[in-house]
């Protein structure tokens, strides 16, 4: 492998999670936190940050230890590693940002069962070098955070008339309360998925047209 293709591979692993293999919008993983905590932009970012910390930490550690972990107990070991990082994130957030912790509460502990994290360990970190695993984890958590942030922003703006707690509209705006309630999560998620699928469908079709045009 040349240095150039190494670099290309690294960029691919980093970028794929943000868009092409976005864990929420493409793989439809981690939908529980994606719906549950995205009633405001700040909550979405905090959840994204905690997941980022857990995913990058466990990916690096799993990749480092991958040749020592017997494959019969690998899932158990991954879970122990993930749970440790989650506990660290849980206590740290509780100590450093009590207000955010109050809102996210139980959902921080539930990062343990976020399938994106265990999925990346099994599918990527346990088979690739530390560097690539770290890049993969960075990209995936960036994609996850981006998705949560989009959901959180839309829901906060529509459902509370504010962005990061700053009111956007005058007193005449009647907030669309349902958007910050659980049904709003499903409505926003469904609408976003529809838009993303429509966009990728359209891109695929135009690429095909181009290909056919070239052949003819």
């Amino acid at each position: 492998m040349t240095a150039q293709s190494d670099r290309e591979r690294a960029v691919t692993e980093l970028v794929k999670g943000i868009w092409r293999e976005n864990p929420v919008f493409v793989a439809l993983l981690g939908l529980c936190p994606a719906m549950a905590v995205t009633n405001s932009a700040i909550n979405a970012l905090a959840m994204g940050g905690a997941t980022f910390f857990v995913l990058v930490g466990s990916s690096v550690l799993v990749s480092l230890l991958r040749s020592w972990i017997p494959k019969q107990v690998r899932i158990t070991t991954f879970i122990v590693i993930i749970a440790t990082f989650v506990t660290v994130a849980d206590y740290s957030l509780h100590a450093l940002a009590p207000a955010v912790y109050k809102e996210l509460g139980a959902f921080i502990a539930l990062i343990v069962v976020n399938c994106i994290i265990l999925g990346r360990q099994e599918a990527f970190a346990s088979r690739n070098s530390v560097g690539l695993s770290a890049l993969d984890a960075l990209g995936m958590s960036a994609g996850f955070t981006l998705a949560l942030f989009m959901l959180g922003s839309i829901r906060e703006v529509l459902g509370n008339g504010s962005f990061f707690g700053v009111p956007l509209f005058g007193a005449g705006f009647e907030p669309w309360v349902v958007m910050i309630l659980p049904p709003g999560g499903f409505l926003t998620m469904g609408t976003l998925l529809m838009i993303f699928n429509w966009l990728s469908e359209r891109r695929k079709r135009s690429a095909q047209l181009l290909l056919e045009g070239g052949a003819a």
Partner: protein
Amino acid sequence: MSAEEKEASAFSLVATLGVAGFLAGLFIVGIYQITDPVIKANEAAELHEAVFKVVPGSSQLQALALDNGSVKPLAHGDEAEHVIFAAYDAAGTFKGYAVPAQGPGFQDVIRLIYGFDTSTGKTTGMQVLASKETPGLGDKIIKDQHFVGQFTSRTFDGGELLAAKSGEGTLPQHVDTITGATISSKAVIRIMNETQSLWKDAYPAPGAEPALAAPAEGE
């Protein structure tokens, strides 16, 4: 590939999990040791702030526990089932009581704290500490200025606070409920009434409040 395919011995499986569990335990204990004092301090600061808010003019407090129908100061670090806080100003003059209370709301338990002045029989303030009421509706019990503000001067005359339709309250024990958050606002009133009935005979007579104990060593 052949190294991966070979069966790992039972010992190595157990050893792997044992080591992983042990190290994970060490990490968790470590982070707990670091963060626990900060978390406790944050919670104490939040409680102090709430007490000083519901008892205007206060800046010091001491915990009192219910003991056989009367109250007695709670030693620092001790725990009791029912606790209220006596609040004092900077000079140590008694200003009023702050009473924590909790009970079921619309969705989940509502925790609140209210101030009570035994000399006038009036509430001096109310603040919701934790609730999961519906955003935009029930959570007005925290944000609605009129609702929260009226607790600065309501009385438990005749035993309890009474719910009134917004703007129709005429008596000093009438609390205006919030339109669109009737259940949550009635829950707040009910929680305060229940807690007040627990304490009403235990409050020391006005003027006979326990003096502020000297701060414990090292505080």
